[in-house]
């Protein structure tokens, strides 16, 4: 069922369209003696930041406000850094970053179930019996990640108290590219060398384990055993990079810019991870499933989201990383335009929005349109397939390529869809 690791290595090169990325992949950053050259190359390494607004953020309280209509709710719109584009007033800091963002306002994913919606948005496909498509994070870990990278290819920073509807990736890409969950942004458990274990003894025990593992692999090699072995190497690498998870070394002014709450800290960790070479970092912010008191809850949740997100965008830009980092803000669906009897909004997948930014994205672009009160898409309707194509294309990957399972071609993205060129740079 699983393809051979060599095929992965080859396909990775084929998928990469940018020669600079290819060069980086072949040579490794360590070959560049000059720091500026390494920094330049690091900037060319593509990476992804996914902000997952768990539960289904309201498009009317974010990217596609409709004030003054029967569905608009109490909030107003505000101008953004792009003339003519307005956001909900709950996003004042994000509005100042609008020139770095693109909006897709005509999404119809036709799925109002949390779990299925999350799978659709992570894979670009409707769930199919007998085949699990890989998540965007796993795809990026495989196609963009360096084998020498000590950090996991797909890192998921989850909230302190909720798993964020974990949608496990059990696809044919194998467990090596599955998400590594960092609960509350904490470094993986037991990733610190025990104080009573000397460095020399640690090295020695690793060597013994490696020998035993190699002997075992000579007879029983599989994707699982590969992943098992790789996980030790990854753990060892992680131990060296453990400081990335510790925000306490950041100046207080920086921490305050991100906000002294969990999501602010998680965004700061995400920045540190992306700076430190992580390929795909997903940060989940919970919760937006506001069937009751939608407006009070969006006021609170977006009040937490807005500033750290805008700060993260700005910091990535200041560090020269935004051009090579695809930024995605999405949920499993949007929320009903109709306001229910408890001041809530329910699940709604027929006409909603997401925001993109950074790598390969045309800042200030808006694609798709909904009607006056947001109940239907009137122009530029797209589904998750189009979005998945767009994500890959923005990263310089050819979304029309195939995976191969026992020589059976599996399209990387839904062949019935295509990238949304209007938001691509």
């Amino acid at each position: 069922m699983y393809c051979h690791p060599c095929e992965h290595a080859l396909s990775r090169r084929h998928f990469l369209l940018g020669s600079a990325s290819l060069g980086a992949g072949l040579l490794g950053l360590a070959h560049f003696a000059r720091p500026e050259a390494a920094a330049q190359l690091a900037a060319q390494q593509k990476r992804v930041l996914l902000i997952w607004l768990h539960g289904g953020v309201s498009q009317l309280e974010t990217w596609d406000p409709k004030p003054g209509t029967d569905t608009g709710g109490p909030f107003q719109t505000i101008a953004t850094s792009v003339p003519g584009i307005h956001l909900c007033e709950l996003l004042p800091h994000t509005a100042k970053q609008m020139h770095r963002l693109a909006l897709i306002r005509g999404i119809n994913t036709a799925e109002d179930d949390h779990g299925k919606g999350a799978v659709i948005m992570h894979t670009g496909r409707r769930p199919e019996p007998g085949l699990s498509y890989p998540h965007l994070g796993s795809v990026c870990a495989k196609l963009l990640g360096e084998e020498s990278n000590p950090l996991p290819g797909y890192i998921h920073i989850t909230p302190r108290v909720s798993d964020g509807f974990q949608v496990g990736d059990l696809s044919f890409l194998g467990p090596r590219f599955a998400p590594v969950e960092l609960r509350d942004g904490q470094a993986p458990a037991n990733s610190e060398r025990p104080a009573n274990l000397r460095v020399e003894a640690d090295i020695l025990r690793q060597q013994i384990r490696q020998k035993a593992s190699e002997r075992f692999l000579q007879r029983r090699r599989s994707a699982q055993t590969e992943a098992y072995t790789a996980s030790y190497d990854q753990a060892a690498g992680l131990m060296k990079k453990r400081s990335l998870f510790d925000c306490s070394s950041e100046p207080m002014t920086v921490r305050e810019r991100y906000g002294q709450h969990d999501f602010g800290r998680h965004c700061l960790i995400a920045r540190r991870l992306l700076e430190g070479g992580a390929t795909f970092v997903k940060v989940t912010h919970t919760n937006y499933d506001t069937h009751h008191e939608n407006f009070d809850f969006h006021l609170e949740q977006l009040g937490e989201f807005d500033r750290p997100f805008a700060t993260l965008l700005e910091d990535l830009h200041q560090r020269g990383l935004l051009e090579s980092t695809l930024v995605i803000v999405m949920s499993e669906f949007g929320r009903t335009p109709r306001i229910n009897r408890n001041y809530g909004r329910d699940h709604w997948s027929q006409a909603w929005s997401i925001a993109l930014g950074g790598c390969g994205i045309q800042g200030g672009a808006v694609y798709g349109k909904t009607n006056a009160n947001g109940t239907a898409v009137t122009d530029g309707m797209v589904n998750a397939g189009h979005l998945f194509h767009t994500f890959l294309k923005a990263l310089g990957l050819d979304s029309k390529k195939n995976w191969y399972i026992d020589n059976r071609p599996i399209p990387m993205a839904d062949p019935k869809a295509a990238p949304i060129k209007e938001v691509l740079a």
Partner: protein, 333 residues
């Protein structure tokens, strides 16, 4: 020979008039003359209902929802989610905006007028309580002492104190001679931080003093097990004002899922409360009995409660857009 005294009892409650707004209603108040009811609607308008001939019209001027309403003299004051405070000559044939000012940053949640009619108090999401002199709306003072959104306020009937209440159920009694906190009361039973949804839920949604000022009632939601589905029960926290201690926690007699959106002191010293959630309800309690001893089911979520100055009638605005007038006097009187 004089007529026997009118027995006004909540058990007599019956609808005697209604008007339908085009949008769901948010809050309502009877005016001091008893001639009008003003209600805020989800289309940003105010509905003006003339009780004499049962006609209604709308006042346009707000750009967002209005739940904060108060009267002083011949002026209506209304506050909206943008923080703007508007003054209206609401008795005129065609009312117009007499003043329009930014009173708070963000949602202006409640308004109250002092018993002598000289001070208007406002509160909102900027955590502030503001005092305005009437009728000129000149800023008098800003009271700061809440750590979260301030949801409601009420003047003590004797006029020396103002009480404000916030999302977390913290009540502050303000000494109006010194503009300082006199004491705090704890209604945190109306608040919860939902760990699963990582959000605050609750708050004091309605606040009322008993006519003589000996009791203070705070309405909201309690026992929340799922914030985002609104799974919780209406609760009225009744304080003994002198001691500041909770006297009684007033609950529905039978299980009901929702929030108590309005509370008032009705006839016979009983408390009236309305709730919305899984439908709408009217409750009546004796101050010293936890369980409601009267319940009336509505066909829509009730969102506020305002007692008419005659003491026998009250109005309830509904999510359905209906604004209903009820009478508690015996039929035919």
């Amino acid at each position: 020979m004089s007529a026997p005294p009118l027995v006004v009892r909540v058990e007599n409650t019956r609808e005697i008039a209604a008007v339908k707004a085009v949008a769901p209603l948010l809050g309502a108040r009877c005016d001091p003359s008893g001639s009008y009811v003003l209600a805020g609607a989800q289309d940003n308008s105010l509905v003006r209902w003339k009780l004499g001939d049962k006609t209604a019209d709308t006042l346009q001027g707000h750009k967002s929802w209005v739940r904060a309403l108060a009267f002083a003299g011949q002026t209506l004051y209304s506050g909206d989610w943008t923080g703007r405070l508007l003054a209206w000559n609401y008795l005129d044939a065609k009312p117009t905006v007499q003043a329009n000012l930014e009173a708070h940053r963000g949602w202006l949640r409640a308004l109250a007028v002092s018993p002598d009619g000289k001070i208007l108090a406002s509160c909102g999401n900027d955590r502030k309580v503001r005092l305005w002199s009437l009728p000129n709306l000149k800023p008098l003072h800003t009271l700061e002492g809440h750590n979260c959104h301030v949801y409601n306020l009420a003047f003590h009937p004797e006029g020396q104190s103002l009480v404000s209440a916030d999302l977390r159920g913290v009540l502050r009694e303000w000494d109006l001679s010194r503009f300082a906190i006199k004491r705090s009361l704890d209604a945190s039973v109306l608040y919860k931080y939902d760990q699963v949804f990582a959000a605050d839920i609750g708050g004091v949604r309605s606040l009322a003093f008993s006519p003589e000022g000996k009791l203070l009632a705070c309405a909201g939601i309690s026992n929340v097990s799922n914030a985002f589905a609104g799974v919780g029960n209406p609760l009225v926290v009744l304080f003994d004002w002198a001691s500041g201690k909770i006297q009684t926690l007033l609950r529905p007699k039978e299980a009901f899922q929702g929030t108590a959106w309005g509370v008032a002191f009705g006839p016979g010293g009983r408390l009236l409360g309305v709730a919305g959630g899984d439908g709408g309800m009217l409750y009546a309690w004796k101050p010293d009995e936890a369980a409601a001893n009267f319940t009336l089911k509505f066909d829509s979520n009730a969102r506020d409660l305002s007692l008419h100055p005659d003491g026998r009638r009250f109005v309830v605005p509904f999510e359905s857009g209906l604004l209903r007038l009820y009478d508690m006097a015996p039929k035919g009187t």
